[in-house]
Amino acid sequence: MAAFFRRFRRNRAAVLGLMLLATVTCVALTAPWLYPGSPFRLAGQPLSPPLGTFPLGTDTLGRDVAAGVAHGARTSLLIGLLATAIAVAAGSVFGGFAGFYGGAVDDLLMRVTEFFQTIPSFLFAIVLVAVLGSSLKSTVIAITVVSWPAVARLVRGEFLAMRRREFVQACVGLGMRDARIIFRHILPNCLAPIIVLGSLMVATAILIESGLSFLGLTDPNVMSWGFQVGAGRGVLRAAWWLCAIPGVAILLTVLAINLVGEGLNDALNPRLRRG
């Protein structure tokens, strides 16, 4: 563990990413205290430029952009983490069973996975949200459905490699139940790549969510960054910063998560370090 932190710290980009991510998380957690009340509340004169009474200005309806960005951070992180957590859990179980049992089970499960992978993911997410209706729940479901196949494939590959190792043979020899071998013995051994993939998936999930909310497909009562960009689009000519500010928030968050993910990758797989 100590060695892991030392390796992670040596990667300056990853530390920078972690600091950025910590800032975003802090803003997200303290948003209800920093900007109490609904972020949709009218705060002042519409379209006042940044650096006036309101640090980031107000939008077309006089809503405080800073409050929106803070509350939007909550939405983005929540959806990103939730969707990824479910996708990782589902993908691990799916891929785990496929890799462990092999043969017909593997064939069946992998065909299903490939079926989901063939469908263009963003279009699929749009169709799902269209069918399920605009709510926080359906957004999470849509993102989960399009992102679990990647985990399933990764976990299956790891399991196939682990299946033949001595410690698994020993467990089978001891007469352990399959479920116990899978979850107690093999899964912990493939955690490293799953964590790395998972962290990168959070970034993708946030990008998908912002795309959906930009198109106006997510819950209209929940403030999000994509929605802010979409709402500011109409006055792009007069007030370009309305679109720019939330976009920068998305960019920095996704960048931070990617940096942390790569740092994790380098720290968890020391053998893969670039020369």
């Binding site: 063939t118 469908i119 263009p120 993911s121 963003f122 279009l123 699929f124 997410a125 749009i126 169709v127 269209a130 970034a203 990008l207 912002s210 795309g211 930009f214 198109l215 497909l217 994509g226 960009v229 979409g230 689009r233 792009l236 000519r237 370009w240 679109c243 720019a244 939330p246 976009g247 998305i250 960019l251 996704v254 960048l255 990617n258 940096l259 670039r274 020369g275």
Partner: protein, 286 residues
């Protein structure tokens, strides 16, 4: 649904309509009917546009294909070139600069990038048109038309390309570095070949394999991205059609586009398998 929106439908009329379109039958029967129709390429009828779905889609296919082909060529071309530049100057300022550029582009939301490019090039500088595919009412012919469409194409294609270019740059760099550690490179070096010759005659070809794979896998993503980009730039393609059908609740049309996209992805992946054999003669189409 349309009748309901008009607000003049009696319950009897609605029931009659439902029976006519088979909406009163069990769900699985409806699904079977839809599946049967798809097999003969009958994608249904769009009541919003009062046209068969297939006609609508084919009409919009051209602009999307133009956008996607341009994006694919630009992003793969530039991505490979940048990856090559980064890998050959490993850990130099060139490498660092390209890597940072790729990292940032990779994290940029497409719609935001599109809007910012509009602000910069169309509103501030006034160089390029903001939206559409042709200047409205210009009715240009021949080369003037090509130039006009080209000018409209720059921003959407550029937006879509930047993200994928970042992807291919990173992949190309990693793949070239991996190849550089192989035994055959050491052999080539021992033979006294120049570094330049090694890269262009030996490693480049091998390093291209994962990039081609990725380009195939990403076609689906490209279609999804085109929904956003076409919406931002008002490009009259499939993506915009999908977006409009979504808000008009024209599900027949949306499903048709969806179905066609999945088919495109499969077709492209088959094409990728063929490209493999060109790049690496050891692989055969089996």
């Amino acid at each position: 649904m349309l009748a309901g929106e008009a607000g003049s439908a009696t319950p009897e009329y609605m029931a009659q309509l439902r029976a006519k379109f088979g909406l009163d039958r069990p769900l699985w029967l409806q699904l079977a009917a839809y599946a049967k129709n798809i097999l003969v390429l009958d994608l249904g009828y769009s009541f919003r546009h009062d046209q068969p779905v297939l006609t609508l889609i084919l009409h919009r296919l051209g602009p999307t294909l133009l956008l996607m082909t341009t994006t694919l060529v630009v992003s793969v071309g530039l991505g490979v070139a940048l990856g090559l530049l980064a890998a050959t100057g490993l850990n130099s300022w060139r490498d660092t600069l390209i890597s940072i550029f790729a990292l940032v582009s990779y994290a940029t939301p497409l719609f935001w990038l599109g809007l910012m490019l509009i602000v910069l090039f169309s509103i501030r500088l006034g160089w390029l048109p903001t939206s559409g595919m042709e200047t409205i009412g210009a009715f240009t012919q021949g080369w003037a038309r090509v130039v006009d469409v080209g000018r409209h194409l720059i921003l959407p294609a550029g937006t879509l390309s930047l993200f994928y270019m970042a992807l291919y740059t990173r992949l190309m760099r990693a793949s070239l570095l991996e190849q550089a550690g192989m035994d055959y490179v050491t052999t080539a070096r021992a033979k006294g070949l120049s570094e330049r010759h090694i890269v262009f005659a030996h490693t480049l070809r091998n390093a291209l394999l994962p990039v081609v794979t990725m380009a195939g896998v990403q076609t689906g993503g490209l279609l999804g991205g085109s929904v956003i980009v076409e919406t931002v730039f008002g490009w009259p393609g499939l993506g915009l059609l999908a977006f409009q059908s979504l808000f008009a609740r024209d599900l027949n049309l949306l499903l048709g586009i969806f179905f066609l996209s999945a088919c495109t992805v499969i077709a492209v992946n088959l094409a990728v398998d063929v490209i493999y054999t060109l790049l690496d003669p050891r692989i055969e189409v089996g």
